[in-house]
Symmetry: C2
Subunit: 208 residues, 2 copies
């Protein structure tokens, strides 16, 4: 009896795992499509086409369009923190940390440009559509904390303390990043260097 129950559990778990993995797969296809076309121009049929399945399957795995996009946004967040983790920790002196932060942000701006474009799109959409607001706010908070950890680590290496609020640090750095993204996607050649210069100037002003 125990063995049958165990195998039933295993079967159930395998099905659940498969179910969740398919959801993940479809959410990734949604993310890909959204980053390519933007929220306003993304349809379920287009997402399905990017996933290799037919459009009908989306309503088998997700309640509706909002449910699908929400899951995609959550996957985006996972992608983000995964990418940024490990940047702050290993650095011996302040200038090394500064260089690493610049490299990391400039690197992701270049490589993940369309994903960041999508992020700013969804963040703006959340101002009009309430459905995304909670998820967007959560991601925004995690980004603010990410920047704040960097500022704190930088201050510690300088043997001092931050002199601004976390939201101030995030707002100014995000402003620099967003402007660089706009110019980079518009084809401006100096966008990446502009971000690096901006960060090298702004970050030191955030600590005593």
């Amino acid at each position: 009896m125990a063995s049958t129950a165990g195998s039933a559990d295993r079967i159930a778990r395998r099905q659940v795992d498969k179910f969740d993995e398919r959801r993940r797969q479809l959410a990734d296809a949604a993310l890909l499509t959204l980053s390519e076309l933007g929220y306003a121009r993304t349809s379920l049929r287009e997402i399905a086409q990017h996933s290799g399945f037919s459009h009908g399957v989306l309503h088998y795995y997700f309640r509706d369009k909002v449910d699908l996009i929400t899951h995609g946004v959550r996957r985006y967040k996972a992608h983000c923190v995964e990418r940024y983790d490990g940047i702050v920790a290993p650095a011996g002196d302040p200038s090394e940390l500064l260089a690493r932060v610049c490299d990391a942000l400039v690197g992701t701006l270049d490589q993940d440009a369309v994903l960041h474009r999508l992020w700013y799109d969804l963040r703006t959409q959340s101002l009009f559509e309430e459905s995304f607001r909670a998820d967007v706010a959560e991601i925004d908070d995690s980004l603010e904390r990410m920047i704040w950890r960097t500022v704190q680590a930088y201050a510690e290496l300088l043997e001092t303390v931050p002199t601004c609020t976390p939201s101030f640090a995030y707002a100014t750095v995000d402003g620099l990043f967003q402007q660089a993204l706009l110019r980079h996607l518009a084809g401006a050649p100096g966008a990446l260097d502009g971000l690096r210069d901006g960060l090298r100037r702004q970050l030191p002003t955030l600590v005593a």
Copy 2:
């Protein structure tokens, strides 16, 4: 003959003026609707409803939807520069200018929140849709120049010079403004004060 030609001119001008005024009127209705619903959810029928006319008239005054929205965006720019002009010029000492700039930005953030929301929406849309790109870039430049004039005036009153680039000044100030807008529209009570504090901290770092 001269008199007939003159009256014909007058007539033509009156018609043209009326034509242009109706265009202006409809573009304003478009702007109102866009600021309310966002780009992704705004339809021509909805715009027409806000204008008091039927939806068919839009294609009498505008080539297509993009043409209409483009005119609306141009009107938005006019509204912006009109609002901000006269802030920088009359100020006796640095702290007065700083206070005026803070008041102006905090005031428009509060009063024109939905219009600014629309601006960030359209700026992001321009990253996906090429039609708006030129107009958006032009507005962005004019905003950068506006901030730069402020920084220059502030430096002059301090009898010194700016120490950053125009794009750096714009990026950081815009970052502060956008974050404050996000929080203000989300109902956060401290958003306006946060913007004021942020500006009072950031602007002095932009000059020697």
